[in-house]
Subunit: 345 residues, 2 copies
């Protein structure tokens, strides 16, 4: 229990104004993102612990939301911050920026980055929190690359500037029962048509690090300073070695992020969204195999993962995973190979 403060002790809002407030797109999403301390503190540290990079610079915040990253950049000494977002949350962003006395340092512009007119021809630094589930799902990276190609000065910095997608194999029998086999008997009825749907939709959920059975490998590395949109689809072979004997039900994927830093007086900031790391709102992404692999310590599963934007909706992803587990080789009844398609819709 705690006492109340006077901050909420104000006149109640009329319904008309409440309706206005409630129309802010995805208020809950902004709450979740701000309360994701790994995310927000990583950005804060990357900016505030490398102030020399920001001093007197012009900064562009792509997809600014409530303006938190812009305010960090202003506090770090930026000459001016331009903050762009197409959502009406930017109206709240404007209120908050003004309330915190940063209205003269930060210019908020509502619209698509491709459409708005910036008050500068070039910017020194781009900051953006563009990452989606599995890094690329519904991500704004395309917009960040547009900003880079149209507005970033030669030698300018992008926060963050590196991203990589990693994966490993996991034991996940109990949860697979709940998410997949559940449909075999629903209150006595056969709901198995749902199994295809459940198997095709990767699960965004928290994976216990104790479920991980193999080493992790990087299957996509993105240098945001140089990557082109056409480089983003990938098809990467992998080899994963079990560090213990266990059943394998699924691939778990996550991403890691790096920020630029001032090599003289600064501090390098990175964070991971993997099962070994602290919780983030991105959690991990789980792809169930339609087989169970009975893997012994030190055995290797070879495979391939492919990711490309969906042809109809490029913000969605079509994924394919192949696996080839040879166990001890010819004649070993544990050997299995397969492949499965997934979509992030």
């Amino acid at each position: 229990m705690s006492g109340d403060s006077s901050a909420t002790d104000k006149a109640t809002l009329p319904f008309s104004e409440q309706h206005y407030f409630s129309s802010y797109d995805h208020f809950g999403i902004h709450e979740e993102m701000l309360k994701d301390t790994v995310r927000t503190l990583s950005y804060r540290n990357a900016i505030m612990k490398n102030k020399d990079l920001f001093k007197d610079k012009v900064v562009l915040d792509v997809g600014c939301g409530t303006g938190i990253l812009s305010m960090f950049a202003a506090k770090a000494g930026a000459k001016h911050v331009i903050a762009v977002d197409m959502s009406n949350i930017i109206e709240m962003g404007q209120k908050i920026v003004d309330l915190n006395g940063l209205g003269d340092k930060i210019t908020l512009l509502r619209g698509k980055l491709e459409d708005v007119v910036l008050p500068y021809k070039k910017v020194d630094i781009i900051i953006s929190e563009w990452m989606g589930y599995f890094l690329l799902y519904e991500s704004m990276l395309d917009t960040v690359l547009y900003a880079r190609d149209h507005y970033l000065v030669e030698g300018g910095l992008i926060f963050p500037d590196k991203a990589s997608i990693k994966l490993a194999l996991i034991e996940d029998g109990n949860y697979k029962d709940e998410k997949i086999h559940y449909w075999e008997n629903v209150y006595g009825f056969d709901y198995s048509p749902f199994i295809d749907i459940a198997m095709a939709e990767p699960l965004v959920d928290i994976v216990d690090n104790n479920s991980v059975v193999t080493n992790a490998v990087t299957v996509s590395e993105i240098d945001i300073n140089t990557v082109k949109i056409s480089d983003l689809p990938f098809e990467t072979p992998f080899k994963l070695k079990a560090f213990r004997s266990d059943l394998v039900h699924a691939v778990v994927a996550w991403f890691d992020i790096d920020f630029p830093f001032d090599s003289k007086n600064g501090e390098k900031v990175t964070f991971s969204t993997g099962p070994h790391a602290h919780y983030t709102h991105w959690k991990q992404t789980v792809f169930y195999l339609n087989q169970v692999l009975d893997v012994k310590k030190d055995e290797v599963v070879e495979g391939m993962i492919a990711s490309r934007p969906n042809a109809q909706n490029p913000r969605e992803l079509d994924l394919e995973i192949q696996w080839d587990f040879k166990a001890q080789g010819e004649g070993d009844s544990r050997a299995q190979a397969g492949k499965h398609n997934y979509f992030l819709r």
Copy 2:
């Protein structure tokens, strides 16, 4: 860990077909509703433990989804079940009904109930799971009443047939800090404009029964056999008495449900979505007061709650709560009165 079954061990789906599957509206919602065992087992028991009511009857399932209630009714001996839903989930419903050998007993019709042509002029029983958060938010009750008025025979039954909304006062300081006071200092910035939004949106969440400080009262009772749409808005005074001394931060509201039963051979089924009851996906609804009441054991808080559909969008609710806590009467500095508006959008 558990072994895999052959049910999922089928050829992988092409992306084209996956996209088709993925287009089912709100697959995850149907999963959540089916896995809500309080909800689904209550319907199953209400139907299967009162089979005499269903034997050889024509049944209409309003908003059938995957068809689970229709299948219960068919198993209970219904002559025929007509199942209506406007979502494309009904295509999965058709597959599941056929797979379970009930295709001749259940006719699924996609469309708005007001538009589809039923194969019967009258039905003996209406079944529907129409309840929303706070009972009435985005609820389908209007459609159930339409079905009753146009299709139900004189003396026909509606499952469920009674619903009531209840409320009590709770101590919720820690969570109020997290949801409301959080915005006073967000990484060093003043985000207080969000407090108005957070205060105006009732929170749909699980309330620990140990948080409840007063008795509970019923503020709306609905007899689905007779209620008219125009009866649904309510404005009800309440008196709540503290059974212990504590701070009061919020009103918690929930609903209870009753089903008809066969008084000879049947069994009455009811369930509650209150904080004292087992988890349901409806959880509870919490309305924060913009004051903290310092209530002693046996003291009474009087008040009023009003609920009406929003003028622009009748599926949304405008709510008002007033409270008047006199404490020990004149001169008691703990006395406080106030009111606040809320919306369920």
